[in-house]
Symmetry: C2
Subunit: 238 residues, 2 copies
């Protein structure tokens, strides 16, 4: 971990070299996409440091790491740079063979990727519904669609404990960050038609990496308030 979790913004000095035997993650404490990578780093026990970025006021040097200015970004000691959350996670799983998170069977791996593709169409609802509510617009249609998508996930889960079987695998970590925010977003009632998914949430809350990376609903609410006001406090709670 970096000396400080405080985010670096425009005008800040670029961080020094990646420490020996470490990999660096450019992140933002409340970003669900970056949380995917943080979960994988933790679950695999990979030595890393984290540089948090002020996403509203990005340092110029950050665009050298990712021209799009998005987190997560991984940087190796030799200066290799990897972007896009699923790509960073798969890279880590391959480059660090301990505790594999993706199945080795090609079809099971393909299944996880298809499910991730499905889930990518669920993510926008976690933004659209709260934004809509905030503006006072009618979100009932969006909520119905969202519930249907959750019911589909519930069906995909079936009676398995986790999406890949009896233990947590990559796909669980890829989906988790948005579920962690459901209470804060007041979206939990949408899970009513999805009992298996509710059980999955309970199981995930017992996972050591999930526990280590999570924020309380109170902290999320505090950050989210500043975010909705257009002035996100990325250091909220530090």
């Amino acid at each position: 971990m970096a000396a400080s979790q405080k985010c670096l913004g425009k005008g800040s000095a670029a961080p020094g070299p990646v420490p020996k035997d470490h990999i660096r993650l450019y992140s933002m404490r409340f970003c669900p996409f970056a949380q995917r990578t943080r979960l994988v780093l933790h679950a695999k026990g990979i030595k890393h440091d984290i540089v948090n970025i002020n996403l509203k006021n990005k340092p110029d040097w950050f665009f050298e790491k990712n021209p799009l200015g998005l987190v997560p970004v991984l940087e190796t000691q030799s200066g290799q740079v990897i972007q896009e959350s699923p790509i960073t996670c798969e890279y880590l799983d391959e480059a660090y063979p301990q505790n594999h998170l993706l199945p080795s069977d090609p079809f099971q791996k393909a299944q996880q990727k298809m499910l991730l593709e499905d889930f990518s169409k669920v993510i926008p609802f976690f933004y659209k519904i709260p934004m809509g509510k905030n503006k006072g617009t009618d979100v009932s249609q969006l909520q119905t669609e969202f519930k249907d998508k959750l019911i589909h996930l519930n069906k995909m889960l079936g009676n398995k404990k986790f999406f890949g079987g009896d233990s947590v695998t990559m796909i669980d970590y890829m989906m988790w960050p948005w579920f962690e925010r459901m209470e804060m977003l007041e979206m939990k009632p949408c899970l009513d038609g999805s009992p298996e998914l509710k059980k999955w949430i309970e199981h995930m809350l017992e996972d050591p990496s999930v526990k280590a990376m999570m924020f309380s609903t109170e902290i999320y609410k505090g950050f989210y308030k500043t975010y909705m006001e257009g002035n996100p406090d990325y250091d909220y709670g530090l």
Copy 2:
């Protein structure tokens, strides 16, 4: 290969079981996404049969293979079903170890995936520009953006023969189908600022799998005309 290349539409009988030692591809002869999978099947020498689907008038049984009704879809003898072109291609590369198309080095593999992600933002231009022209709207702004994206690809290619180095790898096959259609779409002048990319096209045209899977510009034009008229003839040229 299937007995007939003719597409199956609504009301058609479902095809029989996947032949012994084969994998089945549900495809459409002119679909660039399905062409990715066809290129990989050919390059790896995988025994397969192809069932072409009438995408305008889909058979009911096809929705059991893919609820979204899209090609490509792979089906194994045991009834495993794989959708989404990059997932089908990676599955084939892992399930059939001969002639690996993805690099084994985790960073090089991540680089191919990042480039594929970049390229996914180029694909819409291959549709928007011809559609715009067809409607008689001004596409000059779109063309400028498209040229910039090609220049970026040209830079990523650098002085390498192929995107992964001296020989064709997965990423080349993932991008190729759209370049094959550039002449038909009258988009070749957009390559003027991208000399390395032009050379890459010449090299790709010498690849045995590209040669085996390609259609002439004449055939493409014939199909495309029926497509633009709203009544695509998926069996054009048979």
